[in-house]
Amino acid sequence: MPPPLLKMTGITKHFPGVRALDGVDLTVAEGEVHCLLGQNGAGKSTLIKVLAGVHQPDGGEILWQGTSTRLKSPTAAMRLGIATMYQELDLVEHLSVAENISLGHEPTRAGFVVRTRSARRTAAELLRRLGHPEVDPATLVGELSAAQQQIVSMARALSHEVRLIVMDEPSAALDPDEVRNLFRIIERLTADGVAVIYISHRLEEIRRIGKRVTVLKDGRSVADGLPAVSTPARDIVALMTGRDVEHVFPDRSPGSPTTATPVLQVEGLSREGEFEPVTFGLHPGEIVGLAGLVGSGRSEILETIYGARRPATGRVFVNGEPLRPGDVRAAVRAGIGLAPEERKAQALLMLESVTRNVSVSTLSRFSRAGWLDRTAERTAAQQATRELVLRPDNPDAQVKNLSGGNQQKAVLARWLLRGCKVLLLDEPTRGVDIGARAELYAVVRGLADEGLAVLLVSSEVPEVLGLADRVLVLREGRIVHTAPAGELDEHRVLDLVMEGDHSS
């Protein structure tokens, strides 16, 4: 029996403060579609990048056709015949299809004159092989649909001598017809002996084209090479979720108030192409979780409520007063605060001190005619950060030197200081290590107990279930289920968010 095409054993990879991969085994045979499953943060992206030669593993062994191999660089991986299609398509929008496909290995004359016609011929040939002769190699990639861009990305992968293609959620942006076409292409590739590592959240896709399944959880492969068709869905979900971190969540306060009038009322809010009209209310002291996959419209809903995006339809009311749509300042004035997903890019002034980061939304309170009372500012900011036990307890510390958890606390302190009534949390624990998460959960629950209404978005289902009082399940821009958190479990939520279109 020939050795498998790829065999990875005991792969580990550490980043400062994070153990991204902690012993991953993966075996892929020639001509096989091998599915890789796991929740967000389970280590899939890191594993892909190790395979693509972007990251170097700290430990473990990679055997390529039976010989031990080091993937020193993306070029090295490419030379072996490993191609990667990232979820975020890495195409250059302002270049043509042909130019994108031949990028980095353009056919040239005398070493530098690009032979445009030859590049176009090659591109056309590849596109024909992929069953898309209608894509003109001369078009700019930016003018193509998402599905067509996917094809171009695949053509680029195939423009090299390819033995293994890694596809990271290739179906995420496609409609059912396009998905069927994608599967046809995959079948043709595997018939030629090319192996595919296929990553998707949609179980029914895995059943349709997958041969074997490897499940990752917390950086470890918890199952290696299960049969894709015959393994029960319940088992797969159990493998993905079986975790023991429930105890970090604080107790819910007895009898969470749901009878009071809602402080935040969202009515028929929608944005074209992002989410369908959603309606729900948020009561003081209540934590509501929004569960859903990446791309289900979670963050978009939050940002639209906050006025950072302008809604197509619908309104937002705070204490019965309608908010001006698309106006962040109106939302802030009304008492809404946002802790955005991209903390560093969207919330923090990295070079500034903790005090200045905390007080930035409340400056007018500490000023008369624009003149700042810096003592008052500092005292108040420090009071807020102490309430959240932000470390170090130094108002002059630069935010960039804080840990992820403490950076998040600085953002929360900003809104605590402002005295906001509604707090929107988008992936509050992203980049926060496990220990600090528990502390953050306690902080959020503590804020709710003081009467704040919290809307929580997280792609980690246990987080939503453990922290929220009530859960709204989102799928493809629609709320498909609403229930008290106690009535749901992780399997049920995952079933709800992963069910395909036709099965709902």
């Binding site: 890019a345 923090l348 810096r374 003592t375 307890d393």
Partner: protein
């Protein structure tokens, strides 16, 4: 750097009473300012050694400060703009336009007040146009102010028709002469000092300054924190325009005339002074003190060269070398 001194202290002390670090005046001499002062000190020594008679006397100090006044005022405005993540390439052109508009025959009929008023209002007007184009028109600062540079210079040339407009208003001329010095301080230098102090206070003690830094540090975060980023940008370019208007008036007083060639390459001098003073070209960080020291360093270098009768070519080479050296030193101190 200042941080490493306080962080361990904070960790050690009980959570209750970490003494808030508040030096008197809240004015702290950080490494950057100290290194700039060091450079200035070295220059003073060089000047004093090479030209003991002419460098170290009152009239030369008066001269250096006077010559720093015009570009200094422009640099204060520029510093705000750069801190906020923008750039203003039109400062030289605005100075030129304001100075010729304020010295036309017709303006001069309104006397001192007419000249001052026109210079300031033209400066503000140009700043307003810049600000509207950038904040509400969505133009990139580089492009908007480059357009203003071209238009301002063109309009200035059209107004003067290439001629030198000599000022005949006595009050304005007198202000630039020795009789007007108060306790040995030229009025131009007083204006420069006042603009510096106001600029420092504005940046360090007001919500305006805080918001400017926030916008430059992270515009998206500032917006999501509820700051009106666009209005802030508008105000910043207005401020730069105002500084140009004041500088134009100072230049009129100093040179006794208005010419369309005025303010030649001020944009580069002001940017260079701000950068040397520690302002990050990418925004979010900068000090008025640093910028003003940057201006003084430049003017002092020029002064020493002139006193030693060095050629223009040598002066330019040295100037370039000093810019590079200063920025390199800063990168080093910033990393530590």
């Amino acid at each position: 750097m200042t941080q490493s001194a306080t962080a361990p202290a904070a960790e050690k002390s009980a959570p209750d009473v970490p003494p808030p670090r508040r030096p008197a005046l809240g004015f702290r001499l950080d490494m950057r300012t100290l290194s700039l002062l060091g450079v200035l000190a070295v220059l003073v020594v060089v000047g004093g050694v090479t030209q003991p008679d002419s460098f170290l006397d009152t009239s030369n100090v008066q001269l250096i400060l006077t010559q720093a006044s015009v570009i200094g005022v422009v640099t204060v405005g520029m510093t705000f703009v750069i801190i906020s993540g923008g750039i203003d390439l039109s400062v030289g052109a605005i100075v030129a336009l304001a100075s010729v508009w304020a010295t036309t025959v017709a303006t001069q009929e309104y006397g001192f007040a007419g000249i001052l008023f026109t210079a300031v209002v033209v400066g503000l007007g140009c700043g307003l146009v810049n600000g509207l184009l950038i904040a509400y028109g969505g133009l990139v600062p580089f492009i908007a102010t480059l357009a203003m540079l071209a238009a301002g210079r063109g309009l200035a040339l059209q107004i003067t028709d290439g001629k030198t407009q000599v000022v005949t208003v006595d009050g304005v001329l007198k202000l630039g002469e020795r009789d007007s010095y108060i306790l040995g301080v030229p009025p131009l230098v007083m204006v420069f000092a006042a603009v510096t102090v106001v600029g420092w206070l504005l940046l360090n003690r007001t919500t305006f300054g805080r918001r400017s830094v926030a916008v430059g540090s992270n515009a998206e975060a500032a917006r999501l924190a509820g700051i009106d980023v666009r209005r802030q940008r508008l105000y910043l370019y207005l401020l730069s325009g105002l500084c140009c208007g004041i500088a134009a008036f100072l230049l009129i007083v100093l040179s006794g005339s208005g010419q369309n060639t005025n303010g030649n390459l001020y944009e580069l001098d002001a940017i260079a002074a701000a950068i040397i003073g520690g302002t990050l070209l990418s925004g979010g960080r900068g000090t008025i003190t640093g910028s003003v020291l940057g201006v003084l360093i430049f003017i002092t270098i020029t002064n020493i060269f002139a006193l030693n009768n060095l050629e223009t070519a040598v002066q330019q080479i040295a100037k370039g070398a000093i810019i590079v050296a200063a920025v390199l030193v800063q990168h080093r101190t910033a990393r530590e």
